[in-house]
Symmetry: C2
Subunit: 561 residues, 2 copies
């Protein structure tokens, strides 16, 4: 078993790829490729005759799979007829191959809260027959447009130290090479991956030019960049199709082509397209907008600490401020800032500045600080849990702690870089036995099965010693049984079911009073009071008014006696 | 001539106070007080008979004067009749006394772009006769409600080092003492000043309790906090009256009273009031909301630098991002972040944490960093100006530079802590001769007359050596003559007239090509091109695409030749 630089395991001789729901798919062998080429040929020939444009989407991950289906579902705005035939392309690794046969069965390779995802893939593959998937690079030879949705990760080397990380460019570079070696010279290549600013013109374009030169082509590659703004949740498809887009191209023709293509497949009538002068402007816009969001979340960290220490309920303060339209995006950060983008995109910017744009002056102050704050906020939450457990007369060592909420965001099942993961790892480090509950998450891959976890090389595990308490962690969906015999429960995410909980039920399910720690302003003041009155210890991130409620209860008790 | 701690000059024997427009008012003498008391007595007696409530507003500055008039203009929501008689109170210092007689003449003591300010004061004083002003503390004896609008400044000891500063509490402390010594025990005192969190309960309340005890009063003082959210500009009055408010009180009665009072005088129907549990929550909310705004502005500093260095036009990037409702408050920072609040409020928070709330752990990261970035951004702008002057073949030493825009915000005439001031001081430090233009500013007090400048103790002058080039600085209102013979012009503020300028006019008025530096994305790409084609050097904060435009012009020139 060897690992490549990105941390992907390449297991020799293994011939199957397993989907998250446990189905095994035999990997294609050398002699399968000819048949696949024929299959593609016949599809493309038929579709071309019908006047379709051929679009290849490279990379069938969270964005690529849905973007592919959105393109396949689009209709010509004059005729109302479908006009794009999409071939989704995914290299046949043991980790990812299963996506290809799954799509060809009309099934979605990603689990989403948005029912439109499954419906869209089913419809385009099985009904409209405007989408297929393949493992073969041959697809590239047919494409009029190639959309690149391969990963470009930022690998952190330390916890809470963004600057020491690096961008993993290998996958993108090798994809660009493969594409340029196989594509028709007049095809448009559209990079949709979030990349380090400068990548399109200074990394991708030279690779393509070199490949074109080696092929003896005289023409310049047509290359564009446009970033997505997907948001996991119930409106996932809308966040791709019905949302504002930004794009640019390396020259005027590329710009014209990308503008035309996006206008054909997205709802640009209601969400107008912004065409910027150069790809670096489009690349930078993506980095700035996500760094901005990371920063406004990080900003609240110090003020939630302030609130905790000085009797202030930060939740009420934020609600008072948010009424101002200019301040409506002020947010409670919760125990950490997760998701795929916010923890990494600032890193892409810093790294690009130094490594692509060759600028040795460090001009960054807030962006790296913000991400470092966000990445380590869970440590403080874990310490607060330990204190609360202690206040209940127990030691965190050996205590059973239920982390309620494994995903990074309310009412979605996406666990990527969730704050809860840091909390759980720190709790284990402190000696706790950690349990997990989430109504939306079936598998917390970060803990349950490293082989199915999409980013094994980046596992946060490497930043923590003693992860023994996480050994058997399996996320549970039933809260009453998950709470059984717990010494503490940490509410980490504002999932709707948590907001509706009755304190009496929590204590009953746990079998008695326990430490209750509110990581995201989930408990109303009345909940806090009821927990306290049943003998629970209660604490919460930014909820400094809990001390006042304790005092009131004490005074009431004294008056009674 | 001696100075008090806050830096106010107390000139012995001087008996006049001069208004900004040059009128001199004799200061009241010892034996004027009895007559003033009689005047107040008769006013109050009459108004009480008519059923009016008496409201005293202490401090007639930017907020107090307008708040007083808003209260005086309010009507009983059942009867439609006026119900509040307001006495504005201002201590009779040479610096501030003039405000009192001015208001009694029905004139506004503050210059505002909002025509409603003058109208409101004229109407309430002369027509409705619901407002007078006085210098005498005796007013306090009549008040049902006392609104405190005295200054509470944050004094910085170094440039770009917020942490070394301190809060000037003296004025507020002495006001609270005077109020408690004179007020009726059942009156409500409402602190509207932005204060360091904890001030209401831990500073003001003890002072009042002590004074009450000395007066032999058994009752507890009624004390509340509610902060304003005024915004200089054309809707100044609306920003006080028709905007969401937050309040709290030290006990249940105080909370009830402040809720009642604000509901009677403000438009709480359209802008509901938030009542928080404790004054520290209301105090903290104000600090957090302004620190938030300071931080989102500071965030863009590093990305404007990034843009400058890597060919990106940050203005277009921001426009592309701002279409997202969640990112609509992303802003270009300009050459610095001024106004009275944003540069100081974070300092109040930090100082309170350590000095009022006695917390020795430094929990702040982003807030002080953001303010430090904002406070020093003008230095970079000045360096950019110097570079542009050099590119025109001149040295900044001895160069004539016009700073266009003295105010801190577009289309207002408020120069408090404007970014332009730092730019001008730094330019002088570099040896330039600095000139100024602003269509809305008659006097740039920070330079023109330290006696009329409201915050002399905090003048930024003390942070700069060699301010010779500012010696004769007088702000000009006529751009053509201001530009005459200039070597450079720096556009600092997005004033409407600047946005409409024609490059050809600028060059004509200057008498030839000059260095044109865009501090706030004022120049359109076409403007930049035209300036360059006339032989000007052009640079701009965050406008990295200027280099590309230069290239294009060069290429065009080559093609022609």
């Amino acid at each position: 078993m060897k690992k490549d630089k990105g941390g992907n395991k390449e297991v020799k001789g293994q011939e199957h790829s397993m989907s998250p729901d446990g189905r095994r798919f035999a990997l294609p062998r050398e002699d399968d490729y000819a048949a696949e080429r024929e299959r593609l040929d016949s599809f493309v020939l038929e579709k071309r005759r019908e006047g379709y444009e051929i679009v290849v989407v490279v990379g069938l991950g969270f964005v690529g799979a849905v973007m592919a289906a959105v393109i396949a579902d689009s209709v010509d705005k004059n005729t109302g007829m479908p006009g794009k035939f999409v071939i989704g392309m995914q290299r046949p690794s043991t980790r990812s191959y299963w996506k290809t046969p799954l799509i060809n069965l009309g099934e979605s390779p990603i689990k989403a809260e948005d029912p439109e995802v499954e419906e869209l893939i089913r419809r385009t593959v099985l009904e409209k027959k405007t989408m297929i998937a393949t493992y073969s690079n041959d697809a590239l030879k047919f494409a009029d447009v190639i959309v690149v949705d391969v990963q470009c990760d930022y690998i952190k080397e330390d916890l809470g130290k963004l600057r020491s990380g690096r961008v993993a460019m290998e996958a993108l570079e090798s994809s660009m090479r493969t594409i340029a070696e196989n594509m028709r010279p007049e095809a448009l290549v559209l990079i949709e991956t979030t990349v380090a600013p400068g990548t399109t013109e200074q990394v991708a374009l030279p690779i393509m030019k070199k490949a074109f030169a080696e092929r003896g082509l005289k023409t310049e590659p047509l290359l564009a960049h446009s970033y997505e703004r997907v948001m996991p949740g119930r409106h996932y498809v809308k966040s791709i199709r019905d949302f504002w887009r930004v794009c640019s191209g390396v020259d005027e023709v590329s710009k014209r082509r990308v503008k035309k293509f996006l206008s054909e497949v997205l709802n640009v009538e209601d969400f107008p397209l912004t065409v910027l002068d150069r790809p670096i402007e489009s690349e930078t816009a993506k980095i700035v907008e996500n760094s901005f969001r990371a920063s406004i979340l990080a900003f609240m960290d110090e003020w939630t600490r302030f609130a905790e220490r000085h009797g202030v309920d930060i939740a009420k303060v934020i609600a008072a401020i948010k009424v101002r339209p200019t301040h409506s995006n002020l947010m409670l950060p919760g125990p950490g800032i997760g998701g795929y983008c916010l923890p990494k995109d600032g890193g892409l910017g810093l790294w690009a500045h130094k490594n692509i744009l060759k600028d040795s002056e460090d001009i960054f102050k807030i962006t790296p600080l913000a991400i470092d704050i966000n990445d380590t906020r869970g440590l403080h939450a874990a310490d607060m849990i330990a204190d609360a457990v202690k206040a209940m007369g127990k030691d965190i060592k050996g205590a059973k702690v239920l982390v309620a909420g494994a995903s990074y965001r309310e009412d979605v099942g996406d666990t990527r870089y969730s704050g809860s993961e840091v909390v759980a790892r720190r709790l284990a480090h402190l000696g706790a036995k950690v349990y997990a509950h989430d109504p939306y998450v079936d598998h917390w891959w970060e803990f349950e099965n490293q082989d199915t976890y999409p980013y094994p090389g980046h596992s946060l595990a490497r930043f923590f010693e003693n992860q023994e308490g996480l050994k058997d962690l399996k996320v549970q969906n039933d809260l009453p049984s998950a709470l059984e015999k717990m010494d503490a429960v940490f509410f980490a995410v504002r999932h709707e079911p948590y907001l509706k909980l009755q304190p009496e039920d929590v204590v009953k399910w746990a079998g008695g009073p326990l430490a209750v720690i509110d990581g995201f302003a989930i408990l109303a003041d009345d909940d806090i009071r009821r927990f306290l009155e049943m003998g629970c210890e209660v604490a919460g991130l930014g909820r400094g008014h809990i001390g006042r409620i304790k005092q009131e209860i004490k005074l009431k008790g004294k008056k009674r006696s």
